[in-house]
Amino acid sequence: MTKTVAIIGGGVAGLETAKQLNSLGYSVKLFEKSNTLGGHVAKWDRLFPNKRHASEVVSSLTLSQGNTQTLVGTTVSSIKRQHGNFIISANSNNHEADAVVLATGFELFPAEKKEEYGYGLFENVITSADLEQMFIKHGKPAMASGHKPVRIAFIHCVGSRDEKVNRPYCSKVCCVTAVKQAIEVKEAIPNCEVFCFYMDLRMFGPGYEDLYKEAQSKGVTFIRGRLSESSEIEGGRVQIKAEDTLASTPLKMSVDIVVLMVGMSPQLDTSKLAADLGLSLNADGFIAATDLHTNPTETTTKGVFVTGACTGPNNITDTVNAAKATALDVHNYLSR
């Protein structure tokens, strides 16, 4: 009899795992709580490092699903172990599965928690995700008044490397996202001055350093210092303060738009499912695998696997790789 695998989460991690398990001949049920597939990537305009449209990645994953049974708008409320199998309760229906893959991803750091940055208080303080929506809808950023911005500041590490908001870890991808968005702003509005406030620029992936250099050559100014606070001034503009740490002097400037580079936070719903399944969480709140180095997809609960950003901040490439690895580990488990 064909064995069934339940995958929780229809973002990049879930879609790739589903695709692989499908091609290995399993019956795959993919649960997605929202009404669309693709997760956060589906809400992004273009991707680093090559500015490819995110929709291409999402459609390539959704179009290669074969016989995967995708259940969108379906929230998994509980997962229970029963005689070596799993009973997944979702939208008041029960589904049976031989193995479960958690691919629940992350949620964006709620920027209003950094109250001193003014998100939700000042109309021209936006997040990196808001900026992507502006690119999707209008191809360029605009002030809340509709005016064209002539000065934009990107603030790195919002909800990352910050113990004051219980996010001490680095979210990995925001540095390069800020650099990508800075370039996109320069391309869309060439006379717009663009500033990046950073602590360290973590350009770890292929093509990231090139992107940084491209931003420099396009005139993006990098200031090494963390934002201390922002305040609204006339015309809805925003005054920001930081230390220019390389010059050891306090710095203030006014800008038309402040873009907060929000980090990746653990998905709140996931911790409940993790508790159901007896999984442990890392200190940062993401799900712990059996062995970080040699067994990053298996958990201490037999038949339950993890993949993608529910294990910690990740980019698309690493998530797809993790998903392929997870599919293989599920296959090894089920064919034992």
Binding site: D162, E163, K164, A242, E243, S248
Partner: protein, 110 residues
């Protein structure tokens, strides 16, 4: 010998072979969070004293790590202990206690 006009250790060059790092060691012992600074500059940007003087908590810590104790002690006197830097520090460095320890060193240094 021709004088080319430069020496291996000109004034202002940090020489960590000769630096006196005793204050840094003393502070670390009593306040281990002293070592956790990532030089983000939040403390200096938000500093009340820094609005009126050239005081920078971050730079003061940096001077201590380079052994410029006298300079650091001088700097510490500018702090008003308002505590804003403690509230903003993303690494939870106990900035007030570090100021207290530097001032204590001031009274014990001959």
């Amino acid at each position: 010998m021709i004088d080319f006009g430069f020496t291996p250790f000109a004034a202002g060059v940090t020489d960590l072979d000769k630096a006196n790092l005793s204050l840094a060691k003393q502070i670390t012992e009593h306040e281990p969070s002293f070592n956790l600074c990532i030089s983000c500059g939040s403390c200096s940007a938000t500093c009340t004293a820094g609005q009126f003087t050239k005081f920078s908590f971050r730079v003061m810590c940096h001077q201590i790590r380079k052994g410029n104790t006298t300079l650091a002690i001088e700097e510490a006197s500018k702090c008003m202990l308002c505590g804003k830097c403690t509230l903003i520090c993303p690494r939870n460095v106990n900035t007030r206690n570090i100021i207290r320890l530097v001032r204590k060193a001031q009274t014990t240094t001959p």
